[in-house]
């Protein structure tokens, strides 16, 4: 490090840049002052105010419904897709198709689905967001599970087959348990992405049933309140916890291997 003295400046600048906004936001959320920009002492008032905010509660419930539903669907479809792609085909076209939703700009997926829903005259609601989130969630699950399949020893499956197990038995008793860590990681990824997703939800949700990011967007657009600081701090805490737990989990599974 000593030899790279002048490089340290941009290095620390990067971390300052990444964390200063977060630190300020968290500090503001504990600020007693009504004006969000000056310090007036420590307080938990805004968290109490937040708990009483009905539109945030509705948004949170809607987001959880969409995230849980789309994660369940993504996990089933994505896992099957990964197994199929790894074991039943060598088509590069199908391979590319399975990763397409992860590469396409979210705005393009959003307008495509809006046009499609409108063409088939589907009434928008939570179901339309759930479907939309499954489109990209599935791609991420498939990618993560495939990475796990790539490193998987096939001899157990062969042994199971040689011993006369039916294909479905082999799949359920050998393939799925071996893939489990990959499936869990993929599901976690799909869940987190769905929780945070704004652009696609903005296009495919009904105005009467907004998800939490949509609620946040409208709140932020119409001004800054200390309540948003409190909400932001809570969300930051949740995502930080999820990332760190996921990081620990992957290290744990790697250690067990």
């Amino acid at each position: 490090m000593r030899r790279h003295g002048w490089l340290r400046l941009p290095f620390w600048l990067t971390y300052l840049f990444l964390y200063a906004p977060i630190v300020v936001l968290v500090m503001m959320s504990f600020n007693r002052n009504r004006s969000p920009y000056t310090w007036g002492g420590l307080s938990l008032d805004w968290y109490g105010r937040l708990a009483g905010n009905a539109s945030i509660r509705t948004g949170l419930v809607n987001t959880l419904i969409v995230a849980l539903g789309s994660t369940a669907l993504s996990t089933v479809l994505g896992t099957l897709l990964a197994v199929g792609l790894a074991r039943h085909t060598r088509s590069r076209l199908l391979d590319a198709l399975s990763t397409l939703p992860a590469i396409l700009p979210d705005l393009v997926i959003a307008i495509g689905l809006l046009a499609f829903y409108s063409a088939i005259k589907l009434t928008l609601g939570l179901h339309s967001v759930l479907i939309a989130h499954t489109v990209f969630g599935m791609a991420f699950v498939a990618a993560v599970v495939r990475a796990r399949l790539g490193g998987m020893d096939t001899s157990l499956e062969e042994a199971s087959r040689d011993l006369g197990a039916a294909p479905l038995t082999t799949f359920v008793r050998i393939t799925l348990p071996t893939l489990a860590p990959g499936i869990v990681a993929g599901a976690l990824l799909a869940f987190t992405l769905s929780l945070d997703e704004f652009v696609i939800a903005f296009f495919t949700a009904a105005p009467s049933e907004p998800t939490l990011p949509i609620v946040i967007y409208s709140m932020v657009r119409f001004g800054v309140t200390p309540e948003i600081n409190a909400l932001a701090t809570l969300l930051l805490a949740v995502s930080f916890t999820v990332v760190i737990v996921a990081q620990r989990l992957t290290r744990l599974t790697e250690a067990l291997k």
Partner: protein, 290 residues
């Protein structure tokens, strides 16, 4: 080779259908058909209240050349380019130093880079409103120094800060993996042959890490203008600067001109594909040259 033979978990055709059928069925209905629909809209006239009238026309594409829209595109490209350059200037030294850290600190430094990336995108953008507001901490600091208040929010600078904040990890990660892979012996050899550290950097390290630089730049540059980011220009730019994402959003949700919105989206995807191909091509060339 035998170990890598595809194991037929299920019967051949039925296995294929049972595993990939549901997934690709879903993707066909909810991705391919919608994309085809948007593609077809590019050649039709706009409907009065959204949607399209099925009369073929070429005028949607012609409108792309309108100076009004060219200006939007040029503005987006300018902000994306500035963001990419700043990301490179901050990201390269950071990635370089992370790669030199002891293993334990390396993981911590990398997680610390990615952590903000996993938090809610709107919250990250909102944090900059709090920071840059006329009564925010930055302006209070400037005022205390007798330099402010300065208008920081609702400027192009605020948009660049927000974009940089959103996409910096996309620059650091590929750079890190490129620098990490470099053989330390090459640098030692260069030093032993009498090259100063700066000389070693410019003629050994930098050229060998160019594929990572390229990947990072393409990621940031591509994601910035095209990822449909209408949120940052709107929240941090105060709606004064319209970027391509805002334009597409407005065509679909405000102006109700779906055909022109589709043309804009198609143009964005075309640029994206072109840049990704260029990057893959350059990476292959660099790989062969090494």
């Amino acid at each position: 080779m035998t170990a890598r033979q595809p194991v037929r978990v299920l019967g051949k055709a039925s296995g294929r259908l049972a595993t990939m059928g549901p997934g690709f069925g879903f993707l066909t209905v909810f991705l391919l058909v919608p994309l085809a629909l948007v593609l077809s809209y590019t050649v039709f006239r706009r409907g009065r209240f959204g949607g399209v009238v099925h009369e073929p026309t070429g005028e949607n594409f012609a409108r792309l050349a309108d100076p009004l829209y060219l200006e939007v595109v040029a503005g987006s490209v300018k902000l994306a380019a500035i963001t990419t350059l700043l990301a490179l200037l901050l990201g390269y030294p950071t990635a370089y130093l992370i790669a030199r850290l002891p293993a334990r600190w390396k993981v911590i430094a990398l997680v610390a880079v990615v952590l903000p990336f996993w938090t809610n995108f709107l919250i990250r953008t909102y944090a900059w409103i709090v920071l840059l507001n006329s009564e925010g901490p930055v302006n209070s600091g400037l005022k205390a120094l007798g330099l402010g208040p300065v208008e920081l929010l609702y400027t192009d600078g605020a948009i660049v800060a927000g974009l940089l904040y959103a996409y910096l990890p996309l620059m650091i990660l590929p750079l890190y993996s490129a620098v990490e892979r470099l053989d330390p012996e090459l640098r030692e050899a260069s030093a032993n042959l009498g090259a100063r550290p700066a000389r070693t950097f410019w003629s050994v390290t930098l050229p060998l890490s160019l594929p990572g630089v390229l990947t990072g730049c393409v990621f940031v540059f591509v994601f910035v203008p095209s990822l449909g980011n209408f949120v940052i220009p709107e929240l941090l730019g105060g709606g004064r600067r319209i970027m391509v994402g805002n334009l597409i959003r407005d065509q679909f949700l405000k102006a109700r001109d779906w055909p022109f919105g589709s043309v804009l989206a198609l143009a964005v995807v075309a640029v994206l594909v072109l840049l990704l191909f260029a990057q893959a091509w350059a990476a292959r060339r660099a790989g062969r040259g090494a």
